[in-house]
């Protein structure tokens, strides 16, 4: 099957599928959504355009480290996520850029709720995706999560994939 006739709804479905995969803690499947040169980054709060040599990011993963992140979080010794927290991701205000272009930009708002030990933490912000067609499927070349928070309080950590 070819996806030459890509439509906006295909993009939206792809995003929702990603959210579902993450909510189900199928993290290796999540990593597989990325291209071989895929990146996953979370810049510092309040500095969405920060430069990684000048500012410290929360997450600045290349393809191999995002894989390591996924593998780590599935281990029992990733104590912070054992047992796994329960998460609910919602994507809203999805804006799909030029669907004909080689790299399709997609912006959306997100909320990720995480609950563990009867405490709910909510992460909110924007995600910028750059998606490409690869082997007749969509793949993530770049995922950038911009947190719309004042600080990581009270969350305390980003121990899940946003």
């Amino acid at each position: 099957m070819t996806i030459k006739t890509l439509e906006r709804q295909d993009i939206v479905d792809f995003l929702y599928t990603e959210a579902k995969i993450l909510d189900e803690w199928r993290l290796m499947d999540w990593a597989a959504l990325f291209t071989d040169d895929g990146t996953y980054i979370v810049p510092p709060i309040g500095e969405p355009e920060a430069i990684p040599t000048k500012s410290l990011f929360y997450i600045h993963d290349n393809r191999s480290r995002l894989q390591e992140r996924a593998e780590r979080l599935l281990k029992k010794e990733a104590h912070v996520e054992y047992p796994h927290s329960t998460t609910t991701r919602n994507y809203h205000n999805i804006l799909v850029g030029d669907i004909e272009s080689d790299v399709i930009s997609v912006d959306c708002n997100f909320t990720t709720h995480r609950t563990k030990r009867e405490v709910v933490d909510t992460f909110i912000g924007k995600i910028k995706y750059e998606l490409v067609r690869e082997n007749d499927r969509l793949a993530i070349q770049r995922k950038k999560v911009v947190l719309n928070l004042d600080s990581l309080r009270p969350h305390g950590k980003i121990s899940l994939i946003l």
Binding site: E47, P52, Y58, I59, R72, A78, V80, R153, P154, H155
Partner: protein
């Protein structure tokens, strides 16, 4: 509460009463006797390099403005209008010659001096002759090699005297750079739902390294199958005044100047040059110590400087017995090449910080301690006796002498405060 600690040298047993982690009265005493009297880290001088640069800071429960004033001085102003008290500056950071309180539009130079107020004719001549209407500065602000501290006690000993033996270790951190260290942007502000003293303990607790951070070492070992030095060998040292350090061999790459196989050959050459340069500056032994050893330093009460796979400074403050706010800084040599800086930051992010592969697990461990202190009534004591049998001078980095040093000093302050109260009753 009976005693805070039981320090039994004969039995080689050291116990800490768990109520210090949960008791509100203890927290009130800590505020009065520790946070109001000890030197507290406010930030690094490189955060405000230019005249007019400022950053808002919360230190010891106060709202402060850390400001590089137009006269070249660095000050810590209380961020409150002398008129009716509103927070004068609402931006987190910036550059400004003047701060203006929006409530009644009083304006202040960035050294705190009142320079404007509407309706001046309603105030007498010489209204501010004594300077009481200026923004108040913290009287005691002192610096050691770029690390700046405030003290809310005008009678406190000097920072230099306070740091004492800890200076030797701060020097080892700072000397890795020929041009000084700088604080990076993106200060990490997070929290731990646990008592603040648990983070001080955790920071010099190498005993927890393997069990808590196994997933990190798994990754390191996959990158470097020859990684043998995961034994984390080293010493634990009491530095006096509640300060302490662990110094141990680095089982990971250090951006100054220990190479690891995930870095390329060009890096290896660079690192050898760095090491040679360090040896020229300080001799072989000290160069080896700077480049190949890790240091986790606790400056009592609430500053941690970790010189590990990157350099981080963390400071923290309790808003309740079971909750602390943490500020995490990354420090790096000025003038470092972009390539090395990225490698350093990758190293940092892989282990440290709220999104790292290790810090969140520490956070979880401390929160689980705090949660289980609900059992305090029946299970009263923490044990931190490890290595006590070896004697003070022989403690390993994986022993608990470092924590006992913190607690002995803490005890001398808080137990005295508790005794005073009893005497007054």
């Amino acid at each position: 509460m009976e005693r805070i600690i039981q320090d039994n040298l004969e039995k080689s047993e050291f116990l800490v009463n768990r109520r210090v982690f949960t008791d509100k009265e203890i927290l009130a005493r800590e505020r009065a006797e520790i946070f109001n009297k000890c030197w507290l880290f406010i930030g690094h001088e490189t955060e405000i390099p230019e005249a007019g640069d400022y950053k808002r800071k919360k230190v010891g429960g106060r709202n402060l403005l850390f400001v590089h004033s137009q006269d070249g001085e660095i000050r810590a102003l209380f961020n409150t209008c002398p008129h009716r008290g509103a927070l004068v500056c609402r931006e987190d950071s910036g550059n400004s010659r003047v701060f203006r309180c929006f409530y009644h539009a009083w304006s202040f130079k960035n050294d705190g001096e009142l320079v404007g107020m509407p309706g001046k004719d309603g105030f007498p001549e010489g209204f501010n002759d004594e300077g009481t209407k200026n923004m108040k500065a913290v009287n005691r602000l002192e610096s050691y090699r770029g690390f700046m501290f405030v003290n809310f006690d005008d009678n406190a000993i000097s920072l230099d005297e306070y740091l004492g033996n800890a200076k030797e270790y701060i020097d080892l951190v700072v000397d890795q750079s020929e041009y000084g260290m700088e604080a990076l942007g993106g200060v990490q502000q997070y929290s731990v739902r646990a008592n603040w003293k648990l983070l001080a303990e955790n920071s010099v607790d190498l005993y927890h390294g393997m069990p808590t951070h196994k997933t990190y070492f798994d990754i390191k070992q996959a990158q470097d199958p020859n990684l043998k030095r995961v034994k984390l060998e080293g010493k634990g040292i009491n530095l006096g005044n509640g300060h302490s350090v662990i110094e141990y061999v680095a089982p990971w790459g250090r951006p100054v100047a220990q190479w690891t196989p995930i870095w390329d050959e060009e890096f290896k050459n660079d690192m050898e040059k760095m090491k040679t340069r360090l040896a020229e500056r300080f001799g072989e032994d000290r160069a080896d110590r700077i480049a190949n050893y890790n240091r986790n330093i606790v400056i009592f009460p609430n500053l941690v400087i970790n010189d590990i796979m990157a350099v981080t400074a963390r400071t923290f403050y309790p808003s309740s017995p079971g909750y602390m706010e943490v500020q995490g800084y990354s420090l790096a040599p000025k003038g470092e090449s972009d390539k090395h800086r990225l490698a350093r930051n990758n190293n940092f992010l892989e282990f440290l910080g709220p999104g790292g592969f290790a810090t969140p697990d520490d956070n979880e461990a401390l929160e689980l301690c705090q949660e289980a202190y609900n059992n305090n009534s029946e299970v009263e004591w923490n044990d931190i006796s490890k290595g006590m049998v070896r004697g003070e001078g022989n403690a390993l980095a994986t022993d608990e002498l470092q924590m006992r040093s913190f607690w002995r000093h803490y005890n001398s302050i808080i137990q005295e405060s508790l005794n005073k109260e009893v005497a007054h009753r």
